[in-house]
């Protein structure tokens, strides 16, 4: 009997690891909750201090992407940010598993003043009452109200309240095309008709002009339905979740009206124009196939910034634009004759409910929304990433490697002027920004991607009829609480 208890105890100890991963500290959470209502719908409201002139002391930031690329540069980044704000800024940047670290740190009551969150996490944390309402701070700050596009604030307002500032300006995604291969196929990308047939013909021409059996003209991240917006524009379907006239959430991609797009993808797959790898590829795989050294695909939909990254990487490898050039298009035309592109959901710096230095946190957010803050977040640290004098800066070798990205390749300051010119192709890709809009922020975004991706792939592969697949997609979205109809 003793042995049995011993064995049961051992099993308990082993399984404790499972639970330990989900548990936080009750006592710490309770302690840190001082002043926080127990109701999930109410949140702590920060007392505004009429600007941040009196901000001082230390500010502790938990960051995922912002800061130096290594310990040495992170120390310089902290120093530069501290000197610019007059605060003592420290940044914790976990090497990996940021989501897990964020949950553990917040659950343990760690006293951060700013934490980096994605839009989906932002919605979840607001729902939990874990963030501080900083609406009055934002309204009282000239910098935050004047230097940032009001639409950006609208996009992150939940029930009339704001709980975070911005890490960067989110750019949009567009259709990327390998122009070198397209020229070889005898097609001028500017003449491609923005219709199903126009794009089909372009893809067919690319396929026919290639001798490589492993070459497929179009690659997408289908398993996450990413990014299909430039193509679903053809039926006017918006990515993600939309609220109808009755206030109910629904997914346009799952509506019967979206069937022509899914059937078009099926035709591409059947005709060997859509890479079968699309069903399992992640973004890194898709980009690897697009890059100069591979060129296993010629058309993708990706962030506007990647047009420039592909081109600058190729140029750094000694290739000319005759050897390799990526250009961009805004996708298929909507029934109204315009375009629809997906814009990145905001990446934010939220103020936790237990933040100790809210004034300091706001001051950092203000700095990020200035020209100088934008320089730091994009080009990096003067004297390390770049040298010279105003108007005559030169990037160091380290700066070139860091590619004008220290958390914000496109800073949030609406009138930001980059220190260094954008890479080839970026200007064109950025010109499509006027067609872009963000998706509705939902806490269960991962469910949306999984369900739409799964049923979309089944339709494309012909495992289910389109109407049947779309019905199943809608049913599962409702069952998992993503949509309501």
């Amino acid at each position: 009997m003793q042995k049995r208890w011993l064995a049961a105890g051992m099993a308990g100890v082993m399984a404790a690891g499972v639970l330990a991963g989900c548990g936080g500290s009750t006592s710490q959470a309770t302690t840190s909750a001082a002043g926080t209502s127990s109701s999930s719908s109410t949140t702590k409201i920060a007392e505004t201090t009429k600007g941040t002139a009196k901000a001082s002391g230390s500010v502790k930031i938990l960051s995922n992407v912002t800061g130096g690329k290594d310990d040495e540069e992170m120390a310089l980044f902290e120093k530069a940010l501290s000197e610019a704000t007059g605060l003592d800024v420290t940044i914790d940047k976990p090497a990996s598993d940021y989501d897990k670290v964020l949950m553990q740190k917040l659950g343990a009551g760690s006293d951060y003043d700013l934490v980096y969150v994605t839009a989906s996490q932002y919605a979840s944390l607001v729902d939990q009452g874990a963030l501080l309402d900083i609406t009055s701070y934002v309204n009282n700050s000239d910098i935050l109200t004047n230097n940032i596009d009001p639409q950006e604030w609208k996009d992150i307002t939940i029930d009339g309240k704001v709980y975070a500032g911005f890490n960067k300006k989110e750019v949009h995604r567009a259709v990327h095309i390998n122009n070198t291969l397209l020229k070889k196929a005898g097609v001028d990308y500017k003449t491609v008709e923005p219709t199903f047939d126009g794009y089909y013909n372009m893809l067919k021409a690319l396929k026919d002009s290639s001798d490589d059996p492993e070459f497929y003209p179009l690659d997408e991240v289908m398993s996450q339905a990413w990014d299909l917006q430039p193509f679903f524009a053809a039926v006017g379907a918006k990515e993600g979740v939309v609220i109808d006239d009755n206030g109910k959430k629904y997914a346009p991609y799952a509506e019967d009206s979206a069937a022509p797009v899914w059937e078009w993808f099926k035709k591409l797959y059947d005709d060997g124009l859509l890479d079968p790898g699309s069903f399992v590829d992640k973004t890194k795989d898709m980009r690897a196939k697009m890059e100069a050294s591979s060129q296993k695909t010629a058309v993708t939909a990706d962030w506007a910034a990647w047009v420039g990254l592909h081109n600058s990487n190729a140029q750094a490898a000694g290739l000319t634009t005759d050897d390799y050039e990526i250009v961009s298009l805004p996708g298929l035309q909507t029934p109204d004759g315009t375009y629809m592109l997906g814009k990145g959901a905001a990446s934010l710096f939220a103020v936790p409910a237990n933040a100790k230095n809210v004034d300091g946190a706001i001051k950092v957010l203000e700095y990020f929304a200035t020209q100088e803050g934008g320089n730091l977040l994009s080009s990096g640290i003067e004297g390390y990433d770049y040298t010279g004098t105003e108007g005559n800066y030169t990037q160091t070798e380290i700066g070139k490697k860091h590619g004008n990205d220290h958390g914000a390749p496109f800073p949030i300051y609406k009138d930001y002027k980059p220190l260094f010119p954008y890479a080839t192709g970026i200007e064109e890709a950025m010109s499509y920004a006027k067609y872009a809009a963000i998706d509705t922020i939902i806490p269960n975004e991962s469910d949306f991607k999984e369900i739409v991706g799964k049923w979309g792939i089944r339709i494309i592969k012909g495992e289910v009829f389109t109407t049947e697949g779309l019905q199943s997609m809608r049913d599962e979205l409702v069952e998992r609480g993503v949509t309501e109809r």
């Binding site: 042995k3 049995r4 064995a7 049961a8 099993a11 308990g12 100890v13 082993m14 399984a15 404790a16 499972v18 639970l19 330990a20 991963g21 989900c22 548990g23 936080g24 009750t26 959470a29 309770t30 840190s32 909750a33 926080t36 209502s37 127990s38 999930s40 989501d99 949950m103 917040l106 659950g107 009551g109 996490q121 979840s124 944390l125 939990q128 009452g129 874990a130 492993e214 398993s223 890479d275 079968p276 790898g277 069903f279 399992v280 296993k296 409910a353 237990n354 806490p443 269960n444 991962s446 991607k449 999984e450 369900i451 991706g453 799964k454 792939i457 089944r458 592969k461 069952e479 998992r480």
Partner: protein, 300 residues
Amino acid sequence: MKNKNLWKKVKRFRSIYILLIPVIAYFVVFSYYPLILGIVKSFQKVKLLGNSEFVGIDNYVTVFTGSQYHQAFVNSLIVGGGTFIFQFFWGLIIALVLNEIRNKIARSSFQTVTFIPYLLSWSVVGGLWITILSPTGMINGFLQLFQGSSFTPAAFMAEEKYARFIMIFTGAWKGAGYFAALFMASIVSIDTSLYEAARIDGATRIQQIRYITIPVIVPTMKVVAVLSVMGILRNFDQIFVMMNATISDKVKNLLYLIYEQGILKFNVGEATAAATLVLVATLLITQVVRKLLHYDQIYE
């Protein structure tokens, strides 16, 4: 009187009890405290910052009535159980084959090759198999050799019908070498005179394996089996690395769902309720396997 005797014994062996304190403290702090805390949280609507609300058995009701959890439980049992069975026999075959190899260099080379996958993380092993099974990977390359120009590459990792088999096969491939090492440790301890006697009696190699090797390593097999079934419901890394949306219905297991709820959606109460049920299910499965294998007889 009884208490007095007990106290006397404690006093007598006090140095041993003092030595036990760090061990007990370790388990209390790092195992039982999180375990109890997790169980407490499973009855709460947990907030990351702020007071958690007591919600009774709501989280358990959600888990028991959620079709996602049902499917994940089935997937956990099939993939976890399948991996265990496949790995067990694969490991056993490797060990028996190793025992038959007389050349020391060949034997250690073969053992090393089979053991290396166990040392690699799932990031590496998962990435390796995803590449091998990709439309441009090795498997499709072989198939193309046989089928020629009419061949259409398959995205094996996007096919539901192969999904569970792939997880079971790759899981067993990774762990078979480890099981083989455990079985080998037991096999090498067999008295060689038993084999000599069997040979004199005219036993073939197969008969020697059947009547000497396997019976001797049965206790080891039981220990391996019981320890392994404890992990059937706890396979996370492989699914995290290798799953994609297309095959999620067939392979998404309980631990991955707990990760989604607890880490990605901050729904800690529901996640801990599910984790508690995984613990209970693990205990039940372990007890059933112990009974079936007559595990306690090993020590009798």
